[in-house]
Amino acid sequence: MRFVDEYRDGEAVRRAAAAISSAQTRPWTLMEICGGQTHSILKFGLDQLLPGKLTLVHGPGCPVCVTPLELIDQAVEIAARREVIFTSFGDMLRVPGSRKSLLQVKAEGGDVRIVYSPLDAVKLAEANPMRQVVFFAVGFETTAPANAMAVWRAHELGLANFTVLCSHVLVPPAIDAILGAPDCRIQGFLAAGHVCTVEGTEDYEPLARKYHVPIVVTGFEPVDLMTGILMCVQALEKGEAKVENAYKRSAGSAGNPAARALVRRIFKTCDRAWRGIGVIPQSGLELRDEFKAFDAAGRFECGHIRTEEPKECIAGEILLGHKRPSQCSAFGSQCTPEHPLGAPMVSAEGACAAYYAYRRTA
């Protein structure tokens, strides 16, 4: 299949693995920021081909994982209301809140529906003027443009029955928080290729300079990932700390100007809590005041719901790369995909779920 096979070619991957081995003279620790990359690395078994002295740490780039528990609780509260059609991307439905998940709300009679695009939720609102349609707007920079477009469209149509429950998060402030932590051991980053496709690479330049780390924009297929790792290792070996792009077929330095403009028209940056990590300054997006009418937390007055994270879960240490999932005492015993104690076990792209799925005994 075109655009897939050439990036999953075993020969090309092995060549890149050999190049990494010969380029590397001492141990290095890299972080892949995005859960999609973690998933690919474990699914294809790329880590098995890398030299032992290269450590990959799995970063917090999984939107399902970092969505705070209290936001799930707010979603559950809204979705249970009779007048509401609650719409969401599929993988948010299974995430347990402190009492139940959206799938349970659906089983109890709530009108919870999977949509493939937030614009489908706007269409639902047009078609159901007597119902309140709410879209669960989570995700990184990648989903922000489509969510912004949905709000813009609802605004243009003058829809009074469409709102979004918004918890967008941004990658560069998270990298800043990870690198700024006192015991950080990350020496190089693989940035998320699709995030840079939208937002460009300019925001990473100051980070590379401030912390003196190489940041390589990297895709998601095996050849993409191995190329990103190779470029990062080469930069570390040379002592260089700049932003490089290993995903040029999709990402450019300016990103997608139309998408960026739309996101900035609808949203503004805000402090945001990340599940398992805590509040990271200016790391989220919220609706601008002129679009506050589309804010579901305001319309349904559920912003007061606050929830504590369970104590057993070491999600924070996992998401910051201090520990591997298999180093958690609950992993695979008290904590499984059926009974997750924390978010990284819930989402298919969470680091704990990826370890559970691909790395137990084989």
């Binding site: 294809f44 059926e338 559970y356 005994t361 084989a362």
Partner: protein, 359 residues
């Protein structure tokens, strides 16, 4: 009092009419399941003409059958698919194929089916006729007869158009012993064709997803394909399974667990067509977990693997058949995948449904 001068208004009886009180019934009503005259009429006008056979026409409470010698295989399954009509089939053909295939996977020759219909009030009778005709066609192609049945009607909103249960019996020939526990180390794993087609076809119509090529379900009766494998492998054919819900990964995990063996798959050998692969990439699905309705997995002694492969490839339903893996001793109960880049990983059971991802 009537004014004597004008007298009572006269009516002309020749102009009287008696309008038909009820329009011809063209949708299912609760009374169709009530056991009375409307039920009888539905049986006579829809079910009997389609399924016609002596056992059914006796209209007894049950069918009385004579079976050929051998052990009897008996299976049941319920069908609740949405939408009820989809590219490549409908709930009727699926209800026949599914149970015929469950029997075939026991190594049985399928013989007779029962059919239970739970219909939601308001289903157009034309739709019911179409579904029943499709069942009759599928049954005749599979060489089975529908010998007994039942119809219930539920209030509108209490069902989803129509649910069908079919149960079936078949006879297992002497010397054939098919069971998941019989997978043993060194056995070879085959699949009869491209995987994940049905699940993606249903999802694409359900969600209105458009792809360059139309996705058509692979729903089909597999008894003939099983017959072809039995002919060349006989008792050396150890396990058969149709990987429906949960896909190839779940079916092979179950077999590995019940036989206490490990199964190793070679990723590059697993046939997946481009359209299905593209849809899976888009949705974040793994084709190994997507449902099939016309594919068969076989676990065969190594000496007969090539013969089964050739027999399948010569069959219209098995043109894309492939050897996809082998049974090993360790790690017991696990399905292991050799990835296309040369690494190894486990393939686990899914904990729930696959859900489309965010990004």
């Amino acid at each position: 009092m009537t004014d004597p001068k004008s007298g009572p208004t006269l009516v002309d009886p020749s102009q009287w009419s008696c309008p038909a009180p009820v329009a011809p019934v063209d949708t299912i009503q609760v009374a169709h399941g009530g056991g009375g005259r409307m039920s009888q009429k539905l049986t006579e006008s829809v079910f009997l003409p389609a399924f016609r056979n002596p056992a059914l026409e006796a209209l007894h409470d049950g069918a009385i059958l004579s079976l050929p010698p051998g052990r009897v295989a008996f299976s049941t399954d319920s069908y609740v698919i949405h939408p009820i009509f989809f590219p490549g089939g409908d709930i009727g053909s699926l209800a026949v194929h599914g149970t015929v295939n469950d029997l075939a996977m026991c190594g049985a020759r399928p013989l007779h089916l029962s059919a239970g219909f739970i219909i939601e009030e308001g289903l157009p009778i034309a739709d019911l006729k179409r579904i029943v005709a499709s069942m009759a066609r599928a049954a005749s192609e599979a060489g089975v007869t529908v010998v007994t049945g039942d119809t219930k009607v539920v209030d509108r909103g209490k069902g989803d158009q129509i649910f069908i249960n079919t149960a079936g019996i078949g006879v297992v020939p002497e010397g054939i012993e098919i069971a998941p526990t019989r997978a043993r180390p060194d056995d070879v794993v085959l699949v009869s064709g491209e995987i994940a087609v049905h699940g993606i076809a249903i999802l694409s119509v359900r969600q209105g997803l458009q792809f360059e090529t139309e996705m058509v379900s692979d729903s089909a009766s597999l008894h003939d394909l099983v017959g072809a494998a039995l002919e060349v492998a006989g008792a050396h054919l150890h396990v058969l399974r149709d990987p429906t819900r949960g896909g190839v990964a779940s079916a092979l995990n179950e077999i590995a667990a019940s036989a206490g063996v490990s199964i190793e798959l070679e990723e590059r050998s697993i046939p997946v067509n481009e359209a299905v692969q593209g849809a899976c990439e888009l949705l974040g699905f793994d084709p190994l977990y997507v449902a099939n309705e016309g594919k068969c997995l076989a676990i065969v002694a190594p000496s007969r693997a090539k013969a089964v492969l050739e027999a399948w490839r010569a069959h219209p339903l098995g043109r894309d058949a492939a050897i996809i893996g082998q049974v090993r001793e360790e790690p017991r109960g696990r399905l292991v995948l050799h990835t296309r880049i040369g690494a190894r990983r486990i393939v686990d059971m899914l904990s729930g449904e696959q859900l489309p991802r965010i990004c």
